[in-house]
C-alpha cells in the first residue's frame, strides 16, 4: 500500500460565494467519509491563506525569516489530503472526486516516500 499527498491549488484571495463554498465543503465531507469507509483516508486539512505563511532558512547558523509563502505566484496550496492507495490509479480515483467537488481547482498527486 502506498500513500499519496493530494494538494489542492487555489488562487490567492479569491473566495467563492458562500453557497458554492457550502456545497464544496459538504461534498468534501462526503468524500472524506467514503474514504474512511474504504480504508483510504489518512489525514486531511484546509490551510489559512498563503499570505499567513512564514519561511525560515538556516544557513551557517544564521537564520533568515521571511513573511509570506516560499514560492511566489498567484496560486498556492489551500488544502491537502493524505490517501492510502494500491497504486497511482487508486490515488487518481480520490483525486478525481476531490477535483470534481472543487472544480476547476487542480489537484496535485505526490507519492509519499517510504
Amino acid at each position: 500500500m502506498n500513500q499519496y499527498l493530494l494538494s489542492v491549488y487555489q488562487p490567492d484571495g479569491e473566495i467563492p460565494e458562500q453557497a458554492v463554498l457550502d456545497r464544496a465543503m459538504a461534498d468534501l465531507g462526503r468524500i472524506a467519509q467514503e474514504a474512511q469507509a474504504a480504508g483510504a483516508w489518512v489525514f486531511t486539512h484546509g490551510l489559512h491563506p498563503a499570505d499567513t505563511a512564514t519561511v525560515v532558512t538556516v544557513r551557517g547558523g544564521d537564520e533568515l525569516i521571511t513573511d509570506g509563502p516560499y514560492l511566489e505566484g498567484k496560486e498556492h496550496v489551500g488544502g491537502f489530503w493524505v490517501i492510502r492507495a494500491e497504486d497511482l490509479d487508486g490515488a487518481l480515483v480520490w483525486a478525481r472526486k476531490i477535483g470534481a467537488a472543487l472544480s476547476p481547482l487542480p489537484i496535485e498527486i505526490r507519492p509519499i516516500a517510504g
Binding site: A85, D87, L88, D89, P111
Partner: protein, 401 residues
C-alpha cells in the same frame, strides 16, 4: 530465425514477463539484455533452441535469480521467491492478459508526458536502444536517456500500475495507447524523406506495435482501424517522393508504385471493421484511405464516399482540421468555390495546410494573385524543407497557368 529477429519480436514480451515477477523495469531490462548477450555465444555453438522466446525468458529469469542471490537483501529475497514461483507456474493462457498488454498500459499511462510515453513504448516494447530512439526523434542521446530514466523512476515511485486498467478507465486509456502508436508512425512518415532511413524504421516499428495491439486487444475495433490506417498510408510511400526526394501529392502519385500487399491487407482490415459496426476515428480514416486505394487513378476517386466519411468523422471526432480536409473533398464533388467557402470559414491561419489548401483552391478558380499570397503564407508556416520546396514549386507554377 536469427537473433536479431528474435530480439525484435521477443524483447518486449521478455521484459514484460520479467517485470511482473521483479516489479522493477530496470532489473527486468538488465536481465533480458544479459540473456540476449548469452544467446549470442550459446546459439552460435548449438544453434537456436526450439523455442527462442522461452530460452530468453528462462535465461533472463535465472540471471535475475543469480543476481538477487548475490545481493541477498530482504527485498531481493522477496523478489527471488516470486521468480522461483513464476518459474514453476504454468504459462499464462486464455483469458489472462498477456504481460505485454500490461506493459503497454504502463508505458502509455496519462501520468507520463506524451514524449515519455513514446520513448518508453519504443524502448520497452520495441526493444529500440536509447541512441536509436534519440536519432529517430532528432533528440540528443543524453536528453533521451534522461527522459527514459525519469519516466522509469516515476513509474516506480509514483506507483503507476502494471495491469490492464479498470473498465471505467479503459476507453480513455486505450485511446492513449493508440495515440502513442500513431504518433510514432507519423513521426516516421511525415518527415520520411531524405537519406535518413531510421525514420522509416519508425513506421515499421509503429506497424509492428499496431499488429501487437490487434493481437492483444482483439475486441477493440479502433486497434484494427489504426493498423489498417497505417498499412494503407504506408502503401503509398514508394510513390510519395520523387527522384530528388521531393514530395509528390496524392493526386499526382504513380499508383502502380503503391504497395499492393499492404493495400490488400489494409482493405481487408477495413472490411473487418465495417462488419463490427462500431466506427471510431481511426476506422473512419482507414476507410477513407481505402477509398483512395480503390481508385486506379486520382480522377476515378469516389469523392462522394470520401465526403460521407468526413461527415461521419465530424460526428465522432469533430475538429477544425477535419473540417479543413472535408472541404478538400467537397471541392472535388461540388467545385473549388464550394470548397473555398468552407475553408474561409475556418480559424486555422497558423497552419500551413490551411494556406496550402486555400492557395490550391484559389489557383483552380483562376485567382492567381490571391493564390500566390496564400502560397507565401503556407511557405512561412511549413515545418520541413520538403514541404517548403513543394509549395515553392506550386507557387512558381502559377505564372505558367
Amino acid at each position: 530465425m536469427n537473433l536479431e529477429d528474435v530480439y525484435r519480436a521477443e524483447y518486449g514480451r521478455a521484459v514484460a514477463v520479467l517485470n511482473r515477477a521483479l516489479g522493477d523495469l530496470d532489473l527486468a531490462e538488465e536481465a533480458v539484455q544479459e540473456a540476449f548477450a548469452a544467446a549470442v555465444t550459446a546459439w552460435e555453438r548449438a544453434g537456436p533452441p526450439p523455442s527462442p522466446a522461452g530460452w530468453i525468458i528462462t535465461t533472463a529469469r535465472n540471471r535475475a535469480i543469480d543476481r538477487l542471490r548475490r545481493e541477498a537483501t530482504r527485498e531481493a529475497r522477496h523478489a527471488e521467491a516470486a521468480l522461483l514461483h513464476a518459474r514453476d507456474a504454468p504459462p499464462e493462457e486464455g483469458a489472462v492478459p498477456d504481460d505485454r498488454l500490461r506493459l503497454i498500459f504502463t508505458c502509455c499511462h496519462p501520468a507520463l508526458a506524451v514524449p515519455a510515453q513514446v520513448a518508453l513504448t519504443l524502448r520497452l516494447l520495441g526493444g529500440l536502444t536509447t541512441p536509436e530512439i534519440a536519432r529517430a526523434f532528432l533528440t540528443g542521446e543524453a536528453t533521451m536517456a534522461q527522459r527514459i530514466v525519469r519516466a522509469k523512476a516515476k513509474i516506480r515511485l509514483a506507483g503507476i500500475p502494471y495491469r490492464v486498467p479498470h473498465e471505467a478507465d479503459l476507453p480513455a486509456r486505450v485511446r492513449a495507447v493508440l495515440t502513442v502508436v500513431y504518433l510514432i508512425f507519423n513521426e516516421g512518415y511525415v518527415a520520411g524523406s531524405g537519406p535518413d532511413l531510421t525514420r522509416e524504421d519508425l513506421c515499421a516499428e509503429a506497424i509492428r506495435l499496431g499488429r501487437l495491439l490487434v493481437e492483444l486487444m482483439p475486441d477493440e475495433p479502433e486497434a484494427l482501424g489504426l493498423l489498417a490506417l497505417m498499412l494503407l498510408t504506408a502503401s503509398r510511400r514508394p510513390a510519395r517522393t520523387g527522384p530528388g526526394g521531393e514530395l509528390v501529392p496524392l493526386a499526382e502519385q504513380d499508383r502502380s508504385r503503391w504497395d499492393a500487399a499492404l493495400i490488400a491487407e489494409g482493405q481487408d482490415l477495413v472490411r473487418r471493421c465495417l462488419r463490427r459496426g462500431r466506427p471510431g476515428p481511426y476506422q473512419i480514416q482507414a476507410a477513407m484511405a481505402a477509398v483512395h486505394s480503390d481508385a486506379p487513378a486520382a480522377a476515378a476517386t469516389d469523392w462522394i464516399q470520401v465526403v460521407r466519411l468526413y461527415d461521419q468523422l465530424m460526428t465522432v471526432a469533430p475538429s477544425p482540421v477535419v473540417e479543413l480536409n472535408r472541404a478538400v473533398a467537397v471541392a472535388e464533388v461540388a467545385g473549388p468555390a464550394a470548397g473555398l467557402a468552407l475553408v474561409d470559414a475556418l480559424d486555422l491561419a497558423d497552419r500551413h495546410l490551411f494556406h496550402a489548401i486555400r492557395a490550391d483552391l484559389l489557383r483552380r478558380l483562376g485567382r492567381a494573385a490571391e493564390a500566390a499570397a496564400a502560397y507565401d503564407e503556407a511557405i512561412a508556416w511549413a515545418g520541413n524543407d520538403a514541404e517548403r520546396a513543394f509549395l515553392a514549386r506550386r507557387r512558381a507554377g502559377l505564372a505558367a497557368e
